[in-house]
Subunit: 157 residues, 2 copies
DNA sequence: CTACTTGCAAATCATTTGCAGATGA
DNA sequence: TCATCTGCAAATGATTTGCAAGTAG
């Protein structure tokens, strides 16, 4: 029996915890309460976050020893491996964002207020593929990061 | 007397050490032998490098205590501030490349052999500006990073 | 002069690891 | 059962910092 399911002709995506479970099984890893709790917390709201912020959200569970700091780091790594989370480095710390269940996008980064604005451009991908083609390069993914000033910060100064 | 000079109508760029000297002066910082030696070493050949590799190149000077590890790090930071060096994070370590005296470009990164292939695309910048415009965002710079397999690695497997 | 710099040794600090006990399949 | 996990405490390792001595302007 397949783990994916559908309603009529509408493909329904698996909930993150399920999807991660598949990944774990495919690697001979185990589905543990800790990993489930961490994944649930991460995908309970769409946001960019770093390990420290995630750990804050898990405060209570950590206090009750239901989850520990090393396990959070270990699971973050597995989520990136699974392709469900995307990792980037901003000002020395690792920042994560949902890759699973969220459309691919790039960022405008305001260097004054540190805001991240998401955008998507099919044209950008077209050019990416054209350039890659010229180099006989096989694209797996890309990252476009534009630094500057957001609308608000431009006005303020 | 200006620090820039020209031959006929041809604008000649300042050598890196000079350019960095200007930057230092504009900040009330001092032009020291250490900073000069580090800048000379960095700009003596075009290449991507991390702090450790740079330190290897400075081996001799470090052994003679003409330059120290902390000063290398401090100077790298100043070079990035000055805009002469560009910093990126690759697999956990900071990698630097020349921004001064070298045309702007982006990268194709081979995830198998870790090769960095440079490319430039005016079209990419056009799209970048278009997207930024839609968000009333003022672009200061951008970084496009394409991950995948280079031509050689594609063939090998 | 004297404020900025440097080298040294020690400190940081996010992230990782060794291990013994716990647990999912 | 038993290989995989987890929490803990300790280790890492690249980068940073405090400080007394050195030096550019």
């Amino acid at each position: 029996m397949s783990k994916s399911f559908s309603l009529g002709s509408v493909q329904v995506k698996l909930p993150p915890v399920e999807r991660f479970g598949q990944f774990l099984q495919s690697r001979g890893k185990r589905i543990t309460r800790q990993r489930q709790r961490i994944v649930e917390t991460i995908f309970s709201h769409h946001d960019h976050f770093d390990a420290e912020e995630l750990i804050e959200h898990l405060q209570e569970l950590i206090a009750q020893r239901k989850v520990s700091r090393p396990t959070v780091y270990r699971t973050l790594g597995e989520l990136v491996e699974s392709g469900m989370l995307r990792k980037m480095v901003l000002g020395g710390r690792s920042v994560y964002e949902h890759e699973y269940g969220y459309p691919s996008h790039d960022h405008l980064y305001c260097q004054r207020c540190n805001k991240l604005i998401e955008f998507h451009s099919a044209e950008l991908e077209r050019i990416r593929d054209a350039v890659a083609g010229e180099h006989d390069f096989q694209v797996s993914s890309h990252r476009m990061f534009v630094t500057g000033l957001c609308a608000q910060c431009r006005r303020k100064r």
